[in-house]
């Protein structure tokens, strides 16, 4: 990965993302009357300052290292330890599986999404046999149905595309 000030660009991304969110939050806050925006705006301004400090502390410049030593000594030491490194692709795929499941829950409902997701995950990502995957999928669905639908008489969300609101 390319580096800026001695640190891989990827390491800065969360802080940048947060800065963006905070800026939008601040813009939204100023549309509310003074009473309502007072404290959220104060917090947001402080956040922008802190994020700036954090960004600098992550660089390998002199100021950055100094900030790290004052404010994040433990993190400094942990960074020096070997941490397992995973490729961005692998992490994104894991997140996509989760998002896909959440989307399925909302679109086709709990009773369809759960077995589908468990089956797909154990079979495709886990490499288990069809029999094992189906067993786990059925077991999970049955457990959830017994607990929520049967015992708690909770209506399991049917999915926006099928019957839901």
């Amino acid at each position: 990965m390319r580096r800026a000030f001695g640190t891989p660009i990827g390491d800065y991304l969360p802080a940048f993302g947060l800065a963006l969110v905070t800026a939008l939050y601040l813009a939204a806050a100023y549309r509310y009357p003074p009473d309502a925006r007072e404290i959220p705006a104060d917090v947001a301004w402080t956040m922008l300052g802190l994020i700036a400090l954090d960004l600098v502390s992550r660089t390998h410049t002199g100021l950055g290292r100094a900030l790290m030593r004052w404010f994040n000594p433990a993190a400094d030491r942990e960074d020096a330890e070997a941490k397992p490194h995973y490729t961005a692709g692998r992490q994104i795929i894991a997140v996509l599986w989760l998002m896909g499941f959440a989307a399925a829950l909302n679109l086709i409902g709990i009773l369809y999404a759960v077995p589908l997701y468990v089956l797909a995950f154990t079979r495709l990502r886990g490499g288990r046999t069809w029999r094992a995957s189906i067993a786990v999928a059925c077991g999970t669905t049955l457990f959830l149905w017994l607990l929520f639908a049967f015992l708690l008489r909770l209506e399991l969300y049917p999915g926006a595309l099928i019957g839901g609101r």
Partner: protein, 505 residues
């Protein structure tokens, strides 16, 4: 006084009541262990059944549930980083790393004994305080609640000393999220982007399930293997040493129990603050703060003691005035009303035996639930050996569906998923999760109480110094950041002996 205590005990020690206690306990354990369910759901489920029951039986049942839920929550927090109840999220911080090192038995043992001891200390405190409960509740108003919230935030912020900057950032983010929704003071609806679901703000339990359980499942699915790093290392036999660890670290237990008792009595703040505050203060007081978050047994004992101590004291505002300390207490209030026991000043006068019976039931359930947890340590700890390909989808399902079940909103699953990804990013890029939790819980409370205090005082800040308790709290807040410096200086002075004595001239 003693005779009332005894008549309460007598009421509970009947066969039928004990059976209901046991039933409540089992249900409490199960519901406590599953994220998204918990005491409030269990009590709501049982409420119709309590209809025909007499008061003591209903209270035995309720006490059984409320006493056992924390232990259930601890078990899933330790084994899977999936807090069964919101307060157990603090147990995840060191309990789960222990499980990853194959020491699940040790962690569960410590949790069980800390639970019991904390519960007992909480009970004793409540019994002592109950006669003056009314006066106590009236001492704390909006100015005090605001300062307490600030105190909580400061404690937690100064705890992440090793990562102060990042801790403050996540805390600030938590505050920003906490302000989303309908503002009780002005009536404005803020930061909801027009989404009706966000009217009540970001729901806490789904967010916590995401931050801890789902984030961990994402991490597990990437790194593979199982929760316990090396299968051969899962030592169940260390359970006993876990149980004894609580007594070795008696200062931690005491501290946790006191914090739990005090915080539990503050309505609307709840168990999350109790457990996280206890954890934070223990880290601060420790000689080796950086070992926390990596499997320090005190990191399990501290929150566990607080959680069970809070259960008893949460009854104080609930019974004295009908102000529920949280969702669980709100449902319990309903059960009380159902049985003709109107919470309020009269309750403490008219229904004393029943109240003491309840407190006995709570304590008994807490201790017995710990035993049951210990009994099942071996099969439970096997969960840490289940391979990721199977564990991840199953736990993710339970987490998301449980989060839906909190109040039957499918939007909760989106919150959980988003916070899951957020939690994972925080793990990956090294931002502490401790501060965001406290900020989420205390943010809205702090702001609301501040505005109320200002309305009371017509905008003058003097209200914070003219009230006794506020003044004490202010002093505490000012002193807190200085404590670590003081302690370090003391330690240096003690350790260095004659050399430092010379230096201090």
């Amino acid at each position: 006084m003693l005779d009332v205590w005894l008549s309460g005990l007598q009421g509970i020690l009947q066969v039928r009541e004990l059976l209901f206690l046991a039933l409540g306990m089992v249900i409490g354990l199960l519901f406590g262990a599953i994220p998204g369910l918990g005491g409030s759901t269990a009590l709501a489920l049982l409420m119709p059944f309590t209809y025909g029951l007499e008061s003591f039986a209903a209270l035995a049942l309720s006490g059984g549930v409320m006493g056992a839920v924390p232990m259930g929550g601890s078990i899933s927090a330790i084994l899977l980083n999936a807090p069964g109840t919101a307060p157990s999220a603090a147990t995840c911080l060191d309990g789960y790393p222990l499980a990853r090192q194959g020491k699940a038995g040790l962690a569960i043992g410590a949790a069980a004994s800390a639970n019991s001891v904390g519960g007992i200390i909480g009970t004793v405190t409540v019994l002592a305080v109950l006669p003056i409960a009314k006066r106590l509740v009236l001492l704390f108003g909006p100015p005090e609640f605001f300062l307490l919230a600030v105190l909580g935030l400061v404690v937690v912020a100064t705890t992440s000393r090793g990562k102060l900057l990042r801790g403050l950032i996540t805390g600030g983010f938590g505050l920003m999220v906490a302000f989303i929704g309908y503002d009780d003071i002005t009536g404005d609806v803020r930061f909801t982007l027009g989404i009706p679901y966000l009217w009540d703000g970001v729901h806490l339990v789904p967010a916590l399930i995401g931050l801890f359980a789902v984030a961990e499942m994402i991490d597990l699915s990437i790194r593979g293997g199982s929760v316990a790093r090396e299968a051969g290392n899962v030592r169940i036999t260390r359970t006993l040493s876990g149980v004894l660890a609580t007594f070795r670290h008696w200062r931690t237990v005491l501290r946790g129990s006191i914090i739990g008792t005090v915080v539990g009595a503050i309505p609307g703040v709840g168990g999350v603050v109790a457990s996280f505050l206890s954890y934070s203060l223990t880290v601060q007081a420790s000689r080796d703060p950086e070992s926390f978050g990596k499997g320090n047994i005190e990191g399990v004992i501290a929150p566990e003691a607080a959680i069970n101590a809070k259960d008893g004291s949460a009854l104080i505002p609930t019974l004295a005035f009908g102000i529920p300390g949280g969702a669980e207490m709100a449902v319990f209030l309903g059960i009380l009303v159902l049985h003709g026991m109107q919470p309020g000043p009269m309750m403490l006068i008219q229904h004393q035996p029943e109240i003491y019976g309840l407190i006995w039931a709570l304590t008994a359930a807490c201790i017995l639930a710990s035993f049951i947890g210990l009994l099942f340590v071996r099969p439970l700890a096997l969960v840490t050996l289940v391979p990721a390909e199977i564990l991840v989808p199953v736990i993710t399902c339970i987490a998301l569906v449980g989060s839906f079940a909190v109040d039957a909103s499918i939007e909760n699953t989106v919150v959980t998923a988003v916070f899951g990804v957020l939690g994972y990013i925080m793990i990956r890029f090294d931002y502490p999760r401790l501060t965001i939790v406290i900020a989420l819980v205390l943010g809205a409370t702090a702001e609301r109480n501040f505005h109320q205090a200002m309305l009371m005082a017509d905008g003058s800040w003097s209200i914070f110094v003219t009230r006794t308790i506020s003044l004490i709290l202010l002093a505490g807040i000012a002193a807190l950041p200085c404590l670590p410096i003081l302690r370090a200086r003391l330690r240096r002075g003690r350790g260095s002996g004659p050399v430092s004595a010379g230096d201090q001239r």
